[in-house]
Symmetry: C2
Subunit: 391 residues, 2 copies
């Protein structure tokens, strides 16, 4: 196990009607002038936004609003939010929505207190200072409610990149599983896929002797395997939604990823797809993961065999471990397909002729030097081959 630090100071309020505690949470963490940041549509129609506003008003907390966040959140709205916060002397940002809204809020929070361009953080600069952020989560997926991470797409060149720093870990996150019961099946499945990807990205490690985190990752994958189909079958299943929601947070606050190198190449490879085609991140991951895993499997067959046996219930082929390893990847792919996820470029709406452009952005965009590193370092040829496997 490698040395590490771990810090997850977010206060989680979990359960039915918990959004009614927004005001008291903002007060607890010292906020007096809030930016309410959200997408639009469902949070307005469902009445959630009104309930959050009522909760703020009940604590006499003043607020301004900025809606319009879209999936794969954009830099334009971040600049707008930064300006609004400065103009209105906002001291706390409350995100009402999913990973996109939370990530946009985090970007604004870091940008408000920074003299330079906020994009610096998305080019590798660590976020060390930010306005406090709170979240009311509406989809179990990104894990941004408990993570120090944010992903934004820069509009001028459609570059999708991540930033990180403990300063943007939310002060509080309100998790009401009932809010996710109205999600369309496709979005629920995208969320489940994203959570499973966060687990696999940590599972694919070059560190040895990591039994405790291996077991925890497997535990959360087993949870998704059990609860995923229950949610797709019955969207109103509060209990299954609740189990997925807590698993989604645990999958990404890094308590099961500490002390080990991680991968993140499936995410990197997928980000180019969602940036170029504006497809749902989870859908892109469902197509990406099996291809990446098959391509890198030979790097550590026993690791994939372990997941196959412990998570997917495969029988171990001791004479041919690679058979078991591959069976585990196939079972993952079949599982995602059974949830309604796409399985190739055409179902995703991606085009073979764009592969050179995808690879160029992936390996050379935003200062990268021709390759991406992780479980296996992948150069442009590798990435081309992987995208071709998705056709």
């Amino acid at each position: 196990m490698e040395n590490f630090t771990f810090y997850s100071p977010t206060y989680f309020v979990f359960g039915k009607e918990s959004e009614g505690q927004t005001g008291s949470m903002v007060k607890r963490f010292g906020g007096s002038k809030v930016l309410l940041h959200y997408g639009g549509g469902s949070v307005v129609r469902s009445g959630l936004l009104d309930r959050v506003k009522d909760s703020l008003k009940a604590e006499n907390i003043d607020f301004v609003e900025l809606g319009g966040v879209r999936p794969n959140p954009r830099s334009g709205l971040v600049y707008e939010g930064i300006e609004l916060c400065r103009k209105k002397n906002v001291d706390f940002i409350v995100a009402v929505g999913g990973g996109s809204t939370i990530d946009s809020s985090k970007a604004i929070a870091a940008g408000v207190v920074y003299d330079g361009d906020f994009w610096d953080f998305y080019s590798g600069k660590l976020i060390e200072k930010a306005l406090p952020v709170g979240t009311i989560l509406t989809i179990a997926a990104a894990g941004s409610e408990g993570s120090p991470d944010s992903v934004i797409t820069r509009e001028e060149d459609m570059m999708k990149r991540g930033a990180t720093g403990d300063a943007i870990r939310p002060k509080f996150s309100i998790l009401n599983p009932a809010l996710t019961q109205t999600l369309p099946a496709f979005q629920s499945a995208c969320g489940i896929t994203d959570i499973m990807a966060h687990l696999y990205e940590r599972y694919l490690t070059n560190s040895t002797d990591v039994e405790v985190t291996d077991r925890m990752i497997e535990a959360l994958l087993l949870t998704m395997k059990h609860e995923g189909p229950r949610v797709i079958e019955n969207p109103d299943n509060y209990e299954a939604r609740a189990n997925i929601m807590w698993a989604g947070m645990m999958a990404h606050n890094n308590s099961c990823g500490v002390g080990r190198t991680q991968d993140w190449n499936s995410h990197n490879i997928e980000h180019e797809l969602s940036a170029l085609y504006d497809v749902a991140h989870g859908a892109g991951l469902a197509v990406t993961m099996p291809a990446v895993f098959k391509y890198v499997m030979k790097h550590n067959v026993m690791r994939f065999a372990q997941a196959a046996v412990r998570v997917w219930g495969c029988s171990m082929d001791f004479e041919h471990p690679e058979v078991t390893a591959l069976e585990g990847i196939n079972r993952l792919a079949d599982f995602l397909t059974s949830l309604g996820m796409p399985k190739n470029f055409s179902e995703l709406g991606a085009k073979e002729e764009d592969i050179p452009k995808l690879v160029e952005n992936l390996c050379c965009g935003n200062g990268r030097d021709g390759k991406i590193s992780g479980f296996v370092t992948l150069d442009k040829d590798d990435c081309t081959n992987i995208y071709k496997m998705m056709i």
Copy 2:
């Protein structure tokens, strides 16, 4: 799943030589005058205490010392610590040791800023304010390094009771697995047993649909099953020590215990043994757990069968699930014995004739009303029967 809140803001520094960061951690969390609290013996002889002092000096942090904490820490030293802190204007407490030292530090931290008797907190009053505490952990066991809990024994009547409150969650905890390599096998085994007890106490729930936390608890039990024997066989196995150390923290910071009722009757029943005979808490738990589990098994046979199959690798007897359930409990008992733990009253040094006194203290001491509640509510007859099963 039940509604819950979860808050674990401790900053963890994990790995080799991490005790060198004590000074910078105290500084990060605003301490300027430290009480260094410890037991004595090994932390002095090993040079650990000197390294911690050097780290404080390097940051120009002033400190006073209070050693002498003993296993099953006592109220007398807590009163002494409170007085010392007030006299010396201490604003931060650093515990160097195991659960006993950390719990004693937490009690002092709560007592210093409280006008009444600190024992009020150990009689049920929530701890809402305390001096900040940091820890340098020397044994993986109690989980106090990441928990809001503390257990103290009141000397005048040997009453052993717990207190809780987010205010006593450590600000930072330094976890260097190498520090545990010098522990005698018996102490290591006691720690492993305590960690497993913290997991079983959460596993035994009356809440339903708790897949995610069930799976996480099982993951941590599987880790202990794998790493425990490796540590007993080779005390210098850093990697096994590291896995156990992180599992010990995760077992008790409650991330795997949220949203479900918990038990804690094995702890309650054991506390009377360690209070009366001053035996090691883990050793007491090794004798207590199998007896309690067999006694309450009929309350939910399938829960015990699930642990038997998923953790202990038993084959499910679908016609007689109680056979599988019992086999799982027996395998746990055998596992603990294989680590060198005692298995009955006589090996523990407890006496049959003391049972009435144990039961009286357990069920009626410190304001209790004749029974203890948990997975199953147990009255004096139940507790008498359970103690008798341990003979």
